[in-house]
Amino acid sequence: MPEAQDADALVGALLESCCAQVLEAMFFSPVLGPAEPAECRGRPRVAALLHFNGKPSGNLEVDADPGVARALASSFLGLDLSDVSDSQVDEVIAEFANMTCGSALSSLGRVEYFHLETPVVSRPLAYAPAVEGVRRGFLLDGGTLSVCLRVEFGPEE
């Protein structure tokens, strides 16, 4: 059990660092602090689910306040908030999921190779986590965003 806790702590630290780097470098949006994922419950969300396979396999889920998702799209595309369409928001959240996942996996030890599938974006009317893994929440300007990563290394060969 302590080994599993150590692995979760490692993945959690990696998520924190990779999310902060991606948000700052590519979305010009600094993380203002941690946010409890539970704070997100009960409100409409923008979510992205990405599966990856290889060694390791697993999935990553992004869950964001709609206002945060729109603000990220605005920063990423260099557009005014009012000029960003819903489809652009979806596309940018998918990119965020892709970048965060690739960045975290590339930094994780024991990774041999991986293939990221195309993220699926949805707009659930309530917080509805689809992945059971290590989750970290972030406070951004305008709301919260959380990321959950599940990594399966499979049996040792």
């Binding site: 595309l77 260099g78 690739g102 990221l116």
Partner: protein, 133 residues
């Protein structure tokens, strides 16, 4: 120097981002060309003189690895155009494979204007002094 740059990515948002960061980087780009996959990119490289190509890996129709392989096997002089792969995947396996196929550089996401400029200048002016030097 006024550069002709081709951006290959299936995501219009990512193409727009690369273009934006190119502008922020201060690189003197005269013309941007865009393609949504490797096959579209080959159609452009066949008719357009380019200074550098930035390509994603995972794309439908023709992915980045196939694109680099096809481009480098083309007898046309454009086949030697420097190609920078832009990806989140920085595993040793992936980078080695792409460099063996003929990619000239590798830019890992996340990146900002400085990293982009550095990698473009590195592949464009390899062995020479950069224009600002």
């Amino acid at each position: 120097m006024a550069l002709n740059i081709l951006i290959v990515d299936d995501s219009p948002a990512m193409r727009a981002f690369v273009r934006r960061v190119m502008q922020l980087s201060g690189l003197g780009v005269e013309n941007y060309f865009e393609a949504a996959n490797g096959a579209e990119a080959l159609e452009i490289t066949a008719v357009q003189r380019l200074d550098a190509i930035l390509t994603d890996i995972n794309m439908p129709v023709m992915d980045g690895e196939e694109f680099v392989r096809h481009l480098r096997s083309d007898p046309d002089p454009g086949a030697a155009t420097p190609v920078i792969v832009v990806s989140t995947d920085a595993t040793a396996h992936r980078i080695r494979n792409l460099l063996e196929l003929g990619a000239s550089g590798y830019l890992q996401k996340p990146f900002g204007p400085e990293q982009l400029r550095g990698e473009v200048e590195r592949v464009l002016y390899a062995g020479e002094e950069t224009p600002d030097a």
